[in-house]
């Protein structure tokens, strides 16, 4: 697999992609607040997502305190516990991970990596962020309305989501649904930008099959999100109408506290179908960007081309397509037609094939690589291990006969936290350690980073491995307190306390990470222009951090894929995508000098 083109390549002309009319800020407000530059929007997205993510993290601490030390904290009532569970789940899945991967990394990396000066619709892109912020504020507002936020669980299943016995069944659930609707509107505006910029604004020579896998992951995840979020949008509107106007889209005839309600005939299972038609692709909306990013981190920090690039692209696209036909494996116990279970169990097993292929390819990328155990590499390896662990328990739950007894137990909680909580977050951390020098011009502190990595990685296993066991013995999820039962023994209670202590320690490590970022922005060691010696275009800008318009006078011209590491015959162990073949230093030429 030789990358160097032996024959002389004629100088190609300048990029034929029409130059964009860049919006130039004229004031502090339009430069830093209402800014149309995708890099600023990315940081706004990232900052907001991390801020609301911290709320989600604190909620998880409170939940763990209750589970580990029941009857200790008087302020955690059963109602409050359910509200914390609900808000934690929704915040982490939608408002943190989706927003951070697509709004944050998507905005920062897409124009830079494809060689564009900005997103194609910068004004719409700016609106996207402000609508996202509005969605976050509406969600936060639900903490302060009478009755508090929704306590229906992050899946918001009717009928209980809008029945008065559920905490937050009044204003709380309505605000949640309105917030989700705004989030989707905002995301659609951003998503249009991501897709069209990738399709239409690539620079000369940047073919689809030369794009870094990070872009492939973000692109496919965005397409998934654009097609899947409408299901959540429709169900949010219908449930809002059920709640506010008393329609019966989802609400069946039901008796509440001995009183027959006006509802009649609605289908709660219909909501579940709509919700999971969005909900399962959502797993991949989070996972695919992580797959893409980790592929690039592994390649750069192992100084080796990604193994099976074409297969990796196909796997991303294939996983994206298959993710739309597996949704009902979340509904084996919902009362749906049992034959559906067979179909969805089969599709679930099929989707494991391209996913496993990616894991093999990541491992083979490392094989005989010049592995540098930098923080991005450590987090990437940790991701592979964690994703495999979480994926394997997914095979358990994908099978109907195994899923039925494990449904609604802590096993499920442990599974999805490993596969779509911890694993993608490890990639987020690896990506931040990797691209922080580009964004800020400074390096993050390595000692604090090592502490952050080891505590987070090992701590996550101390939390979630025992939790699988709790699920096996039958400890249910979403219970404020287990109380005395025949299957909950003292060791299990101790295990719960142990998990809580581990969770608090891991949480503390995240505070160290935030502190590291804040301190390093101002006092971090100045970064070299391309500290990891990466090949992709974002590291080839004239200035670091990249200025407005990303590149200098001329847009970059691309001559190769993004994985030209350790190329035989080349002096350097990396060849950037935009270096002309004639300018590549070859060994023979170097010896002749």
């Amino acid at each position: 697999m030789v990358d160097i083109t032996q024959e002389k390549v004629e100088n190609v002309g300048p990029a034929e992609v029409p130059e964009m009319e860049l919006y130039h800020a004229h004031s502090w407000w339009t430069k830093y607040v209402f800014c149309q530059d995708a890099k600023v929007i990315a940081i706004q997205y990232g900052g907001t997502a991390v801020a609301i993510g911290m709320v989600g993290l604190i909620l998880s601490w409170v939940m763990r305190l209750q589970l580990g030390f029941p009857e200790t904290f008087s302020f955690i009532s059963p109602e409050a516990y359910l509200q914390f569970v609900t808000m934690h789940g929704m915040i982490m899945v939608i408002y943190l991970l989706t927003a951070l991967f697509l709004g944050g990394f998507g905005n920062y990396l897409i124009p830079l990596m494809v060689g564009a000066r900005d997103m194609v619709f910068p004004y719409v892109n700016m609106l996207s962020y402000w609508i996202y912020l509005l969605a976050v504020l509406i969600l936060v507002a639900s903490f302060f309305v009478p009755g508090g936020p929704s306590g229906a669980g992050w899946t918001l299943y009717p009928p209980q989501a809008i029945l008065s016995g559920t905490p937050g069944s009044g204003a709380g659930i309505v605000l949640m649904l309105i917030s989700l609707a705004f989030f989707i509107v905002g995301f659609t505006m951003g998503g249009l930008n991501y897709v069209v910029t990738i399709l239409q604004a690539r620079t000369r020579g940047m073919t689809l099959m030369r794009m870094p896998l990070t872009i492939w992951g973000i692109f496919t995840a965005t397409v998934l999100a654009l097609l899947a979020f409408p299901a959540l949008f429709v169900s949010a509107i219908m449930m809002t109408l059920d709640s506010v106007l008393g329609t019966s889209f989802f609400m069946p005839a039901i008796v509440e506290f001995g009183e027959q309600l006006a509802y009649g005939g609605g289908s709660p299972v219909l909501f579940q179908h709509l919700f999971w038609f969005f909900g399962h692709p959502e797993v991949y909306i989070v996972a695919l960007p992580a797959f893409g990013v980790v592929s690039d981190l592994l390649s750069v920090h192992a100084r080796r081309h990604i193994f099976g690039y074409r297969m990796m692209v196909w796997a991303i696209v294939g996983i994206g397509a298959l993710s739309f036909v597996v949704w009902a494996h979340h509904m084996y116990v919902s009362g749906m037609n049992p034959y559906f279970g067979f179909f969805f169990a089969t599709t679930t097993l099929i989707i494991a094939v391209p996913t496993a292929l990616k894991v093999y390819n990541w491992t083979l990328t490392l094989w005989r690589g010049d592995i540098h155990l930098t923080l991005p590499m450590l987090f990437s390896i940790a991701f592979i291990i964690t994703f495999v662990n979480g994926g394997i328990t997914g095979l358990f739950l994908g099978n109907v006969v195994v899923d039925v007894p494990l449904s609604d137990t802590m096993f499920v909680v442990a599974h999805f936290h490993m596969v779509m909580g911890v694993a993608p977050i490890l990639v987020v951390f690896g990506a931040i350690y990797h691209w922080f020098p580009l964004m800020s011009g400074r390096m993050l502190n390595n000692a604090m980073g090592q502490f952050h990595f080891w505590v987070t990685f090992l701590g996550a296993y101390l939390i979630y491995f025992p939790m699988h066991y709790l699920g096996f013995v039958g400890v249910p999820r979403r219970y404020w307190e287990i109380g005395e039962t025949s299957f909950i023994t003292t060791p299990i209670e101790s295990l719960n306390a142990f998990i809580t202590v581990a969770a608090l320690i891991v949480g503390f490590a995240q505070l160290v990470f935030i502190y590291n970022i804040i301190v390093s922005v101002f006092k971090g060691e100045p970064a070299e222009r391309n500290p990891w010696k990466a090949t992709s275009l974002e590291w080839q800008t004239e200035t670091v951090p990249p200025g407005h318009g990303n590149f200098g006078e001329e847009a970059p011209v691309v001559y190769r894929w993004a994985y030209s590491f350790s190329v035989p015959g080349a002096v350097d162990d990396y060849i950037p995508q935009n270096v002309h073949p004639d300018d590549v230093k070859k060994i023979a030429a170097a010896e002749g000098d």
């Binding site: 190609v12 034929e16 099959m209 219908m238 006006a262 179908h273």
Partner: protein
């Protein structure tokens, strides 16, 4: 080269390198803004498709009571077709550089659209007066919801329509607003197609 052809290429091969080096421009020859509108239209299409899927699932349950389609709904369709035709005429006029005709086409298109929205409101009032109150009838609840969703999308289009008209009134000629007019017309045709599909769906169910 289409998408699936392109993802079969091998970017690391020397023969492919030469081909790829010559490659420039977007994946589609259309301007980016038209590609963007098509992507948006696809998303809106999914919203309405899923709503219809939910409708068809819900109507299998015992309490489903079909509602009649008032005559006014037929009239509304004619008005919306008129809006679409007027928009298309504006496009043709823009292509032939006839600015005044563009203005007239856009004005007629907008007027018909506003008439359609007013007509839809009257339909809702008529159904209410007939005693089909939404909370007790899922068929009507769906009709109201889909009518409302469609109207919201039309109102979004009216923003673009208004901006285009303002540019014409501000002195822009046909060539300068041609793209905007084409985008408006495309969006109007799409919303007409959606409403025709929904109406046929209401009638047959």
């Amino acid at each position: 080269m289409d998408f699936f052809q392109e993802i079969r290429t091998k970017p690391w091969l020397e023969s492919q390198v030469e081909i790829d080096n010559e490659r420039s421009g977007g994946s589609y020859t259309l301007p980016s803004v038209k590609v963007g509108l098509r992507v948006f239209v696809a998303v809106v299409g999914v919203v309405f498709s899923l709503s219809v899927v939910a409708y068809s699932d819900r109507m299998t349950l015992a309490d489903w009571r079909p509602v009649p389609e008032p005559l006014l709904m037929w009239l509304n369709i004619i008005v919306l077709v008129g809006a679409s035709v007027a928009m298309q005429w504006a496009v043709r006029s823009a292509q032939r550089d006839r600015t005044s005709n563009v203005e007239v086409g856009m004005l007629i298109g907008g007027a018909c659209t506003l008439a359609f929205l007013a007509g839809q409101l009257l339909v809702v009032r008529q159904l209410d007066e007939l005693g089909y109150f939404a909370p007790t009838n899922p068929a009507l609840a769906f009709l109201y919801m889909l009518t409302g969703l469609h109207a919201v999308h039309i109102l979004g289009g009216m923003v673009a329509w208004g901006r285009t008209l303002l540019r014409i009134w501000g002195g822009a000629d046909a060539q300068q607003v041609r793209m905007s007019v084409e985008l408006c017309a495309f969006y109007w045709h799409f919303l007409l197609a959606i409403w025709l599909f929904l109406f046929v769906w209401f009638v047959i169910t």
